[in-house]
C-alpha cells in the first residue's frame, strides 16, 4: 500500500478557480466590444456570456472547495520544461531557417538530450535525425504537396 505523500496540495483547485474567475471577468469585458448586430435579437455576445457565466459559477465552486483530492502538489519537471522549450524553439526558428535545418537540429539535439544512457551515440543520433527529417520532408513535401518553409536564408538563396 502506498504511503501518504509527504507534501499535499492544499489550494490547487482554488487557484484554478481564481485564475478562471479573473480570465472570465476579462473576457466578459471583451464581449462588450463585440460588434452590435441588428439582424438577430441575441447577438454575438449571447453565447460567450452564457459560457462565461457558467465558468464563473464553477470557478466559485472550485474556490469554495479549495482542494478536491489528496495528492502531491503540482509541479512541472525540468525535462518537461526543456522539451517544451525545444519544441517552442523549433516553431520560432522554422520560418527563419526553414524546415530542413530546423527539423534536423531539433531532432538531433532532442535525441542526444533524451539519450542520457548514451545507448545511441552522436553518429546514430545524427543518422536518425537526418532520416526522420528527410522522411517527414519527403512525405509531406513531395507526397502531400505541402509547402514547407525554406526560411529567410532559403528565400535569400532563391529556393
Amino acid at each position: 500500500m502506498r504511503g501518504a505523500p509527504s507534501r499535499i496540495a492544499r489550494y490547487e483547485d482554488a487557484i484554478v478557480g481564481l485564475v478562471a474567475l479573473a480570465v472570465a471577468g476579462l473576457l466578459l469585458w471583451a464581449t462588450f466590444n463585440f460588434r452590435a448586430v441588428n439582424w438577430t435579437p441575441l447577438g454575438l455576445a449571447f453565447w460567450p456570456r452564457v459560457i462565461l457565466a457558467g465558468i464563473a459559477l464553477t470557478a466559485v465552486m472550485l474556490i469554495i472547495a479549495r482542494q478536491l483530492d489528496t495528492h502531491e502538489p503540482f509541479r512541472i519537471l525540468r525535462p518537461e520544461l526543456t522539451l517544451f522549450a525545444a519544441i517552442a524553439g523549433f516553431v520560432i526558428a522554422l520560418p527563419v531557417i526553414g524546415f530542413f535545418a530546423t527539423g534536423l537540429i531539433y531532432s538531433f539535439v532532442t535525441i542526444i538530450w533524451l539519450d542520457s544512457a548514451k545507448a545511441l551515440g552522436p553518429l546514430r543520433a545524427g543518422l536518425l535525425a537526418l532520416s526522420a527529417t528527410a522522411v517527414t520532408y519527403g512525405v509531406f513535401g513531395f507526397g502531400l504537396k505541402v509547402w514547407l518553409p525554406v526560411g529567410l536564408i532559403g528565400d535569400g538563396l532563391g529556393f
Binding site: 478562471a20 460588434r35 441575441l42 483530492d69 525535462p79 519544441i87 522554422l94 544512457a117 526522420a132 509531406f140
Partner: protein, 499 residues
C-alpha cells in the same frame, strides 16, 4: 446497390488498399506503444488525409482507430502495461498467461476476440445506423441542443473523478469554440484585433497540442521503464475450432456489451472491457480461474473493447455526437473534408457510409493478419527508445499542424494547447470534455439561437418528447454521479480510523 458496389470497388482499389493496410499497421504500432493512445494516432493521421477523397480519408482514420484499439493488447499481455486504456481488462488474465509462457496463445485469442468484436459492432452499425438516421430526421433545433447537452454532460460526469472538474473542462472547450468568426453572424469574437485570431482555434492544432505534444512532454518527464519484452520465440497461437465454438457465447455477449456501451456517450472502451470481463466471470462455470491466466477473460475484454468502435460510430455518424475524444477527432476529420455527420450524410453521401462499413471489416482482417503474422517485430515496437519516439512524433505532429493551413500561427496554437493539456493532466482535470466542448460548441450555439429565434424561449427543450428525454437523461446522469460520489465519500469517512 450501385452505391455499395461503388464503395466496395473504391475500398478494394490497390492504392486505397495500401492506405488501409498502412493505416491499420500505424494504428496497431501506436496502440502497442504504451502512453500514446488511439486519439493521438488518429490526430496524427488527419493531415495525411487532406489530399484524399473524403471516403478514403475517413476510412484511413477508422483503420487507424481499429488498429489502435487492437494493438493495446500486446503490451497488456506481455508487459502488464496496456498500450491503450481500452486493454486495461486484458492485463488481468493476459499477463498471468504470459508469465506461464503462454503469451502467444493469449495474444492469438486477443486478436481473434478483437476481430469478432469489430465484426459484431460493424453488423450493428450496418443494421441500426440507417434506422437511427431516419429517426434523426425528426430532430429539430431543440433536439440537437438537448442531445448535445446530454453528450457533454455525460462525458463531463464520467471523465475524471470530480463532476465539477469535468464541467469546467467542458465549459472551457465551449469557450475556445467561440474564438474567431461566429458561424451564425460571420463576425469575429475574441480576436483582440489580431487577424490571425479571426480564424479561431483550428481543431487539428488544438488536438495535436492536447494529445500528441503534451503527451510527448509528459513522457519526457517520466522515469525510464525497465520493462523488457522477450519476443524470442513469440508466436501468436490461434484457438482451435473446438475452443472457438466453446467460447461462442462469450464472443457474442462481449460483442453486444461493447456495441451498446459504444453507443452511450462517455463510457468508453476501457469500461466496456471491464464490464464484459465481469460478465464473463459471472456467467462462467469456473469463475475462480479468472485472474489466473484464463483465456475467456482475455476474449471478453478484447471483444468488447473493439466492439465499442462500431457502437460509437452509430451515434457519431447519425447524430453527429461524438461519445469520446477519438470519435470527436474522427468527426473533426470528416468535417474538415466538408462532410457533416447526421441524417443527411446517409442520404447525400452514401459512398462515405458504405466505405466506412467496408473499412471496418477489412481493417479488422488486416489487423488480425498483421498481429498473427508479424507479432515478433510488432511487439518490439513497445521498446522503441523514447529518445527516438519523442523527437519523431513531435516533429511529425508539428509538420502535420503546419500542413493544415501553412500558417505558423497554428503551431503557436498547438503549443498553447500543449501547455494547457499538460497543466490539466497534472491538476487532474479531464481532457475529453474539453475536446467535446470544442466540437459540440458550434452545434449547441447554432441550434440554440435558431430555437430561441423560432420559439422565443427554451421551453421546447422540456415540451418536445425527444428533447425532454435527453434533458432528463442529462439531469439523471448528474444526479447519479453526484449521489455515487457522496456515497463514496461517506464510505471513506466511515472507514477512516477515528482519533
Amino acid at each position: 446497390m450501385s452505391d455499395v458496389l461503388l464503395a466496395l470497388s473504391g475500398t478494394l482499389a490497390p492504392a486505397n488498399l495500401v492506405i488501409l493496410v498502412l493505416g491499420t499497421l500505424i494504428g496497431v504500432i501506436i496502440g502497442i506503444i504504451p502512453g500514446l493512445g488511439t486519439v493521438m494516432a488518429v490526430a496524427l493521421l488527419i493531415p495525411f488525409t487532406f489530399g484524399m477523397a473524403p471516403e478514403i480519408g475517413i476510412s484511413l482514420l477508422i483503420a487507424v482507430f481499429v488498429g489502435g484499439v487492437s494493438g493495446g493488447c500486446v503490451t497488456a499481455i506481455l508487459l502488464r502495461m496496456p498500450g491503450t486504456p481500452s486493454s486495461v481488462a486484458t492485463v488481468l488474465d493476459g499477463y498471468p498467461l504470459a508469465q506461464q509462457g503462454r503469451g502467444g496463445e493469449a495474444i492469438g485469442n486477443a486478436v481473434v476476440g478483437s476481430f469478432i468484436g469489430t465484426i459484431i459492432s460493424t453488423a450493428a452499425l450496418i443494421v441500426f445506423a440507417p434506422l437511427l438516421a431516419q429517426f434523426a430526421l425528426r430532430f429539430y433545433f431543440p433536439e440537437f441542443v438537448a442531445v448535445s447537452l446530454f453528450a457533454l454532460t455525460a462525458i463531463s460526469a464520467v471523465s475524471g473523478t470530480y463532476l465539477i472538474r469535468g464541467i469546467f473542462a467542458a465549459l472551457l472547450g465551449l469557450l475556445f469554440a467561440t474564438v474567431g468568426i461566429s458561424e451564425t453572424d460571420a463576425l469575429p469574437r475574441f480576436d483582440f484585433g489580431l487577424p490571425a485570431m479571426q480564424a479561431g482555434f483550428n481543431f487539428v492544432p488544438a488536438i495535436m497540442g492536447l494529445f500528441a505534444i503534451s503527451q510527448m512532454i509528459k513522457l519526457a518527464g517520466e522515469p525510464r521503464s525497465d520493462a523488457e519484452v522477450s519476443a524470442r520465440g513469440l508466436q501468436a497461437g490461434l484457438p482451435s475450432v473446438a475452443e472457438f465454438f466453446r467460447n461462442t457465447g462469450n464472443y457474442l455477449r462481449s460483442g453486444v456489451i461493447g456495441t451498446v456501451i459504444g453507443v452511450v456517450p462517455a463510457v468508453g472502451a476501457a469500461t466496456a472491457g471491464l464490464i464484459s470481463y465481469a460478465q464473463a466471470k459471472a456467467w462462467s462455470r469456473t469463475p475462480e480461474r479468472f485472474g489466473q491466466g484464463h483465456v475467456p477473460g482475455i476474449i471478453a475484454s478484447e471483444t468488447a473493447n473493439n466492439a465499442v468502435v462500431g457502437g460509437a460510430l452509430i451515434i457519431a455518424l447519425t447524430l453527429g455526437i461524438p461519445g469520446d475524444p477519438t470519435t470527436a477527432v474522427l468527426l473533426g476529420g470528416l468535417m474538415i473534408h466538408g462532410i457533416a455527420p447526421g441524417a443527411q450524410l446517409f442520404n447525400n453521401h452514401p459512398e462515405v457510409i458504405y466505405s466506412i462499413y467496408f473499412t471496418m471489416i477489412f481493417s479488422s482482417l488486416i489487423m488480425a493478419i498483421a498481429l498473427i503474422a508479424f507479432l515478433r517485430p510488432l511487439a518490439r515496437a513497445a521498446l522503441l527508445p523514447r529518445a527516438v519516439l519523442i523527437p519523431v512524433v513531435s516533429l511529425v505532429a508539428c509538420v502535420g499542424v503546419f500542413s493544415v493551413n501553412g500558417n505558423i500561427f497554428d503551431l503557436y496554437v498547438m503549443l498553447g494547447f500543449a501547455l494547457l493539456g499538460l497543466l490539466m493532466e497534472k491538476l487532474r482535470y479531464p481532457l475529453a470534455p474539453l475536446v467535446l466542448g470544442m466540437v459540440l460548441g458550434p452545434i449547441i450555439e447554432g441550434n440554440l439561437r435558431l430555437m430561441l429565434g423560432q420559439f422565443g424561449d427554451i421551453t421546447p427543450l422540456f415540451t418536445r418528447p425527444i428533447a425532454l428525454t435527453f434533458m432528463c437523461l442529462s439531469l439523471l446522469t448528474v444526479i447519479y454521479i453526484a449521489v455515487r460520489r457522496l456515497r463514496e465519500r461517506s464510505q471513506m469517512k466511515a472507514e477512516r480510523p477515528s482519533g
